[in-house]
């Protein structure tokens, strides 16, 4: 009986952290962010060699077949380094294929994902919220409509698309009738596109699991929450370090109580949130009856904590915090986008209310 990371998980965090430290410096993050694809293929390949791309891919399909808590440890590290790699879509697709894919779909896609080759973007946002007339209808084996904010879209070889009737289709990138238009958010370390589908042929349906869309979204929420934790933790660490160096009034600013208290408040928000996240990851694999509820809570809560931490960490830096040159802004933006992805905190909490029967019919 034990609530915490195992020795292996701590080692995983350390190994991946060390690798990313070297492979993806903030300068490199900026370079990739300025590129068209916004995808660091080299770092992703290296991470794949460490097993990270296939962390949720079963061993028989070339992955290392670990659990969601391991994925969360990895996601935190990717967030901590603001890594422009498709870990989110890789995790979501691994879960979707492993649970709902046919044998052939698994054989085709899972090893690719695990190797860090071009994988699957994920377009399921319409299932959470519909705007701008988004929606996907399926007629015979063809899809019609549009999806906003397809995740990790630039480097993907195909897409998982959720239809309005909550089925999940596989579509290849070069399918006729599919147009992919980039959406430029504040965070260029993650790429999104709007998909327009005009009678796009379906490569196949993922039919092996009831409620697959919800499962996919739960997985995405947990991984995003971990990414936000990592990004906020980094912004916080930057702030504490800066407060220990910068001098004003002949003292380091970290000796001013106003500054110390901001830092204490950030720590007091981050640490319990981390504990909640660990449980959400554990529940995803081991406590199915609680998994959706705690995934929603973890996502919403990390969104709130993340917003507070990245803005406060920026403030601690003073004027430099507002500049492009300061790394804090990278994390500010990473959290800013993750916050609304797969549901704003309000939407996600509403879902938590529905799950508990708290919403009137």
């Amino acid at each position: 009986m034990d609530f915490g990371l195992s020795e292996e998980q701590r080692l995983l965090a350390q190994t991946l952290g060390r690798y990313l430290e070297v492979s993806i410096s903030p300068a490199r993050v900026r370079e990739i962010a300025a590129s068209d694809e916004g995808h660091d293929a080299v770092t992703w390949r290296g991470a794949a060699e460490l097993g990270m791309a296939g962390i949720l891919v079963p061993e028989e399909y070339g992955g290392i077949g670990l659990g969601m808590l391991d994925a969360v440890v990895a996601a935190e590290a990717f967030g901590y380094h603001c890594a422009p790699v498709p870990f989110l879509s890789a995790s979501m697709a691994s879960v979707a294929l492993a649970h709902g894919g046919s044998e052939e779909q698994k054989r085709v896609w899972l090893p690719r994902i695990a190797r860090g080759d071009a994988g699957l973007g994920v377009a399921v946002g319409g299932h959470v919220s519909r705007r701008e007339g988004a929606g996907i209808r399926a007629r015979r084996r063809r899809l019609h409509g549009k999806a906003l904010f397809a995740i990790d879209s630039t480097a993907a070889a195909g897409f998982l698309v959720a239809t309005d009737d909550a089925r999940v289709a596989l579509v290849s990138r070069d399918a006729p009738g599919l147009s992919i238009e980039p959406l430029h958010t504040i965070d260029a370390t993650r790429r999104f596109s709007e998909l327009q589908l005009e009678s796009v042929p379906v490569d196949g349906w993922l039919e092996g699991h009831e409620g697959l869309v919800d499962l996919l979204i739960d997985a995405g929420r947990v991984v995003l929450a971990a990414d936000m934790l990592g990004a906020s933790q980094r912004a916080f660490d930057l702030a504490v370090a800066y407060a220990g160096e910068r001098k004003q009034f002949d003292r380091v600013i970290g000796s001013f109580q106003a500054v110390k208290h901001l830092c204490a408040e950030m720590a007091a928000e981050l640490e319990p949130a981390r504990s909640l996240l660990w449980y959400a990851a554990h529940a995803f694999d081991a406590v199915p009856e609680e998994a959706s509820l705690v995934a929603a809570h973890a996502k919403a809560h990390l969104s709130e904590v993340g917003r507070f931490v990245v803005r406060t960490a920026t403030e601690v830096h003073g004027g430099i915090g507002f500049t492009e040159e300061c790394d804090a802004q990278l994390f500010f933006k990473r959290v800013g986008v993750a916050r609304s992805l797969l549901g704003t905190p309000e939407q996600v909490r509403e879902r938590a209310g529905v799950i508990q029967g708290w919403v009137a019919a």
Binding site: D2, A243, G254, L276, A360
Partner: protein
Amino acid sequence: MDLSYGPEYEAFRQEVRKFLAEHAELARGGGMGMGMGPPSDRAREWQQLLIERGYAARTIPREYGGYGGEPDLLKRVILDEEFARAGASPGVRGQGPDMLVPTLLEHGTEEQKRTWIGPTIRGEVVWCQGYSEPGSGSDLASLQTRAREEGADFLIDGQKIWTSSAHFADMMFCLVRTEPDAPKHAGISYVLIPMDTSGIEVSPLRTMTGGAEFNQVFLSGVRVPQANVVGRRGEGWKIANTTLKHERNMLGSSGQLEASLQRLVRLMERETEDGVRAIDNPIYRDRLLQLQARVLAARYHSMRLLTCNLRGDSAGVAGLVVKLTGCELSHQIAALALDVMGELGSLYRGSRHLRDGGAWQFQHMFSLGLIIGGGTAQIQKNIISERGLGMPREPKPKTELG
């Protein structure tokens, strides 16, 4: 992470649930709030049952009157859950069982442990904490209460203030200055004082709740054997900090938060405005859900800290945040309860429209007291940033030469 839940635990949960159902009446009557009064006979009867079962004083060794069980994280969690679900009192709590007892286990002599732990956990001996003085609150180490040596005894003179429960306590653990010439942190001793010793005068202070949960305590020529010092003479600051650590954990305890949240949910399912239940109002519901996330976070955080403890790992800064976050959360839960009741929330006593006996107004005020007591929120932030994050201490002002 291993929260596997074998049949042994399912059986334990069933056993607890059955026990609580069988003793439903006693379970509800057995409560006691800090400073509210000594445990009633029923509360002590309840506590006795809980200790026999290992539902209270679970890990305290048998020779000191506890149950003598191994620490078990999952059983702890099951107990919290089931007690919250049943609305059952967790038994006798407070400064004696939750603060002094763990301090004695760590620093007390064998004799002190044997004398005090059993009666304290059974609720037979009630303790108060004599730390704060009129001039020494946050700056506790500046305390002035003096203890002069006289033979085998100390003679104590001074004044304590904000002493919760002193008006009905049997004993006080008290900080006194024994070495007036030593630097301020090095001159303090931690003594156990019977409250019926002559020279002690207790004068209750009325608080904003309308009750009088705390007091002024005047000490003049109070004679206490030197054997009543815990730890070594002059090392009271270290012992005091052990107690303060347990106080922070007690005040931030997640079990209370879960029970409080569940009461809030029940209130919101009951309370209606224009026929619409509070929980069906999306604004109130969203606030409830935000609090629920925090209560869940507190719960898993306490499991994480317990695990660190059992593994012998340091929790680092994660261990220092519970008092700050827990007390604030308790206050926010009460604040939402008041808001969903609208004007009715302002009623306090003696009305047929009153809800839950005015408990929410009480919690709203009392939790604010707890945000201040046990080291204020600001002092907690100093502790988190200085001890937890290693940030520089406030520079000491140069003492003026006079």
